[in-house]
Symmetry: D2
Subunit: 107 residues, 4 copies
């Protein structure tokens, strides 16, 4: 049913990550589990440095999701606009990506 890039049989636009939706879902479920694990470490009064190690691991997992989404955005949303000859739309979608990269690099 998903056609992986721009337009499905009903003509609706689709986001790039949709074709990998299950994989992103699984990564986020794992991230939710990591967050709950950190809460439990606090409840159990674990050593602060050990908690920090888990916070760093969770941050890296999130950054993996973020760069994956960015890659899909560029390879699908941006390229689709470019292929349709809509340069303004492609530029606008690149600008959104750049703004997201800025937020990501600063966060």
């Amino acid at each position: 049913m998903n056609t992986d890039t721009a337009t499905d049989e009903t003509g609706a636009h689709q986001h790039g990550y949709i074709s990998d939706k299950d994989r992103y879902r699984n990564r986020m479920k794992r991230i939710e589990g990591q967050a709950r694990g950190i809460t439990k470490m606090i409840d159990d009064e674990k050593y602060c440095i050990d908690i920090l190690t888990q916070v760093s691991a969770l941050t890296r997992a999130l950054q993996g999701v973020a760069t994956g989404l960015l890659d899909d955005h560029l390879k699908h949303c941006v390229l689709d606009a470019a292929k349709q000859g809509d340069e303004d739309a492609a530029i606008a979608k690149i600008q959104e990506a750049t703004d997201a990269i800025n937020r990501l690099v600063r966060s």
Copy 2:
């Protein structure tokens, strides 16, 4: 019951963040909610850039927890060791903090 720094009435050592345990717990529960919200955005096939915005917000929230834990580690675990005249222990705890900072800055 908590004595805020090193030793409670039973003589057991306590980590710095324990005095603020509820606050850290609340922050982590909020972070868990943010993670679930991102999973739901993927389920609902929201726009990738909007998901990225939430991922950046979640990353920042996690970094806030991390720098808070580091601050508590330094103000309690490190200072307690130093006050007890145990310089080796204080140095060891600073080294743990430095390693954690390295992981954090790189993550």
Copy 3:
């Protein structure tokens, strides 16, 4: 002699940032000056925290250059490939951008 993106009057391709070359050059000259300033602070034995503040400012300036270059890469190198109907080339250039973003987010 360059083989990348826009085509100048000789038929050679140009990288996206070239149109802004003077601006990038000026930013890098300023960054060189910031680096020399930090070396001088060390020579003058300034307070470590004040040096750290300047290191953070320099890091931010560098990240501004990086996200600017990425934006130009996407808006020129990637879009030019897409406009020429060369999807494989566009995908390859996006992959290079994604790899660079990964290095940047991790650095």
Copy 4:
């Protein structure tokens, strides 16, 4: 002449990194060279992705200087204050470190 932490034979305080001043100086001279190298890549109109790789390498080198300075700050400025029994001064120096870590993690 310095007024901060360890005390040298004249009774003046010294910053933690001073004992390693040459090493920090060398690292900064290398960083200056890396910055000049990036400026030259722009002058020579090198490929944007190759420039980005060098910007990431420079950023990592700077973060190495930053975490090194932080480590020295904690092991000298903070510990010296703690050893002198001046808890308020130690806490103030830790707070400076925490603020610097925040700027670093965000930058």
